[in-house]
Symmetry: C2
Subunit: 396 residues, 2 copies
C-alpha cells in the first residue's frame, strides 16, 4: 500500500536519475566491501567507476555511518582504506498491528539479534503505540547489549495506507485512531535515528524477497488477509509505491456490485466477503462471545463444517480478485500472509481455484501461489529490511 516516507531523503527513484545511479553504484561498492576492507583505488578497479565517483560515494556513506575509512599505503603510495561498519550496523524493525506490537533488531548480515512482541489494547492511540515501541526497543537493546550508536535506522510497519504527499496515515486505515498522524516525525523525534514508515503489506512483500525464500523474484505480490485485506508489490525487482503511495488496495476490489457496505464507503468489496472480521461475524452467530482469528484457525483445522465453508467461500473470492490482479501485472509469485496463513492448503486450494477460474489461461498456469513461511514476523522483518535497502545493503 503506502510508500515509505522519510525526512532524510527522497524515496522515489526515477531509474534514469542521478540518485538512482548513485544508489546502484553504492550497492556495488557495498557488495565489494562485504568480502573485506578495500582501498578506494581497488574499489574503482572492481566496480568500473572512476576514482572520483568512488570517493564521493564513500564520503556520503561515511557521513551516514555505513563505512569508516583510515589512511594506509598501497604499493608505496598513500591510499584510503574503506571498511564496512559490519557489526556496528543494526537496523530496528517495528510492526504495529491493531492489537500487537513487534520489535526486532537485525544485523547487517540479516541475522536477528533480538525480537519480542507485546499485546496492545484494541483502539489504542498512536501515542500509546509509539511509547510502547520505544520502551520495547530500550528493553531489547539492554538485553542484547547492542549500543544505541549502532542503530542506523528504524523501519516501521503500519496496517493502513500512507499518503506519501503528507507522510500521514490515510483514511481507510485499519487503525482509525492513527489517521492523520505523522508517525515518522513522532518517531524520529523520539528515537533520534532515521525512520522509514511503510505499510504492513508492502513490508510483507519486502520480507519475502529478503528474509524469505523468494530472493531473486522480480515480480511478487504479498497478500495479507486479516481484519483488512491489502497487498504489497515488488515490481521489476523493487518495492512499488505508485503515484501517491497508496497501492495494493485489493481489499476494496468490487466483488458484488450491490453487496454489503464497506468501511471504505463502497459496496461489495473483497473485505466485506473475505476479511477475518467478516468470517468472525459469520461464524459468531449463535455463539455467546465473538470468535477471534485464532478460533477460525483452530476450528478449520478441526474440520468444523461451517468454518471450512466460510474459509472456502472467502478463498474463492480472494482467488477471483487475484485472478484480475494477475491479469494486470502478471506476477511470478503470489504469497499469502496474515493469521490464516497457517491453514495451508485448506485456504490455498479455494484461492487457487478462484485464481485459475478468473485469470487468462497463460497467466493462471504460470503464477505460483504459496503461503508465507515468515508468519507473524513478516512485517517486522520487512521493516528492518527497509532500513538496509535504504542504506544500499542487499540481502545476502
Amino acid at each position: 500500500m503506502p510508500s515509505p516516507t522519510s525526512s532524510t531523503r527522497s524515496r522515489t527513484k526515477n531509474p534514469g536519475s542521478q540518485s538512482a545511479l548513485r544508489h546502484l553504484n553504492q550497492q556495488r561498492i557495498i557488495d565489494c566491501l562485504r568480502s573485506g576492507p578495500s582501498t578506494q583505488a581497488e574499489l574503482a578497479r572492481q566496480t568500473g567507476l572512476s576514482t572520483a565517483t568512488v570517493s564521493n560515494i564513500v564520503k556520503i556513506m561515511q557521513d551516514e555511518g555505513t563505512v569508516s575509512t583510515e589512511p594506509t599505503t598501497s604499493s608505496g603510495r598513500r591510499a584510503l582504506n574503506v571498511r564496512l561498519n559490519g557489526n556496528g550496523i543494526v537496523a530496528v524493525g517495528i510492526d504495529f498491528g491493531r492489537r500487537h506490537l513487534r520489535v526486532v533488531l537485525a544485523s547487517l548480515g540479516y541475522h536477528v539479534i533480538a525480537e519480542e512482541s507485546v499485546l496492545l489494547p484494541l483502539g489504542h492511540h498512536a501515542d500509546e503505540g509509539i511509547a510502547a515501541a520505544v520502551a520495547l526497543l530500550d528493553r531489547l537493546l539492554e538485553q542484547s547489549g547492542v549500543q544505541r550508536s549502532a542503530l542506523v535506522g528504524a523501519g516501521v510497519g503500519i496496517p493502513g495506507p500512507i499518503d506519501r504527499r503528507t507522510g500521514t496515515v490515510a483514511q481507510g486505515a485499519i487503525l482509525p485512531e492513527w489517521v492523520g498522524i505523522n508517525i515518522l516525525e513522532h518517531l524520529e523525534e523520539t528515537l533520534k535515528i532515521p525512520v522509514f514508515v511503510d505499510n504492513d503489506a508492502n513490508l510483507g512483500a519486502l520480507s519475502e524477497v529478503t528474509w524469505g525464500p523468494h530472493g531473486g523474484i522480480c515480480n511478487l505480490m504479498f497478500l495479507k488477509i486479516g481484519s483488512g485485506i491489502g497487498a504489497g508489490l515488488i515490481l521489476n525487482g523493487a518495492p512499488y509505491y505508485g503515484s501517491v503511495g497508496v497501492t495494493g488496495e485489493i481489499g476494496h476490489a468490487t466483488i458484488h456490485e450491490h453487496g454489503l457496505v464497506c468501511r471504505c464507503g463502497n459496496r461489495g468489496c473483497l473485505e466485506t466477503i473475505a476479511s477475518t472480521t467478516t468470517m468472525i461475524e459469520l461464524l459468531s452467530r449463535g455463539e455467546n462471545y465473538p470468535l477471534a482469528p485464532g478460533d477460525i484457525v483452530r476450528n478449520a483445522l478441526a474440520k468444523d463444517p461451517a468454518t471450512l465453508r466460510v474459509v472456502d467461500d472467502a478463498g474463492l473470492a480472494v482467488g477471483r480478485a487475484l485472478g484480475n490482479v494477475a491479469n494486470l501485472i502478471n506476477p511470478e509469485v503470489i504469497v499469502i500472509g496474515g493469521p490464516l496463513a497457517v491453514l495451508g492448503e485448506l485456504l490455498l486450494t479455494p484461492v487457487r481455484r478462484g485464481l485459475i477460474r478468473h485469470a487468462v489461461p497463460v497467466i493462471g498456469e504460470s503464477t505460483t501461489l504459496t503461503m508465507s513461511s515468515l508468519g507473524e514476523r513478516a512485517e517486522a522483518l520487512g521493516a528492518a529490511a527497509l532500513v538496509f535497502q535504504h542504506a544500499g545493503i542487499r540481502a545476502p
Copy 2:
C-alpha cells in the same frame, strides 16, 4: 500486455544488474553527445564514469551503429572523437491491426520522416501482413530517400499478448490467425535489422510518455478500447512486462460472474460488455448490415439515444475495472486510446464516474483520466520509440 522480444539482447533489466547499469551509462553518454561530438576523455569527465567504462560502451555503440569514432588530438595528446550518427539513425515503427497496417519512419529527434497506413483484409494471415509491411516500408524508403543502411531497427505492434518465453503470439489474441507465429524471426529474416515486437497497448503507453504529452510521468496506464480491451503499463518510469510478458489484460476482468461467455473462455469479462464488438452487436439489432466502429462514433456525436446509452454503459463498466486497477497500482495518469477516443467527454464522463465510484477515495481523487491525443498513430509511434529505447535514446 506482452513483452518486447528480440533475438539480439535480453529485454528484462533487473535494476541492479550489469546490463541495467550499462544501459543507464549508455543513456548518459548519448545525452552528452546530443550537444555535439566529444572525446572519450571529455565524456568520462562529464559522466563521472571511468575512461575504461566509457571506452567499452563506445565500442559497443559503434558496433551497433549508434556512434562513429575518429582519431583526433586534444591538448597535444592522441584522443578518440565520438560522434552520434544523428541523421543516419532511423527507426521503423510498424503497427498491425485486425484490418489495418501502419508504418512510420522516425528520426533520432523523434521526428516523423514518412508515414502511411493501408487496409488489410479481415482474417488475413501473418504472412500476408508481414509481406504488406515490407512492401509499405520499401515504398516509404523510396519516397523519403532514406537509405536502408540508416535503419537501426524496427518496432512492431501486435494486437494480442506475446508470451516472452517463446516469442510467439499467445492464445487470446485479437488476431487468431497469428497465434503461435514467431513474428520476430519472420521479420528479422526479411528486414535484416534488429526487430522488437510488443503488444499494441504497451506501445500506446510508451508513445504517450515519448511522443505524447506525458513525458516525465512515472506511472501511467494506457487503455485501448477496440475489438479487444487491453492496457499497457509504464511503472516506475519504465515499460512493465511482468513475469511471462502478458500484462494489462484488463479486458478479461470479471464484471458479471455469470455474464456472457468471452473469447478467453471465462464469463462476464469487461470485453463482453464494453468492447466495440459488443457495442456493435447491441446496436446492429434490426439494422440491415452490421455497424462499424466509425458508425458508433458518428451516431454518438449525432446524439443518437441508443448509441449514447450503449457508450454510457460501456464507460461505466470500464470505469469500474479501472477503479480496481487504480486501487492496485495507483497510476498518476490513465490515458484512453483506440477508435472511440474521439468521443471525448461522451465516453470520459461515464468512465470517470465508474472510476470514482469504485476506487478508494484518495486514489479516485488523485488519478488523472484523459483521452489519447495521438489517435490511430499511437501504436506505430510507440513501435518506433521502442527501437530508440533499446538504443538508449530518450525522447527529447
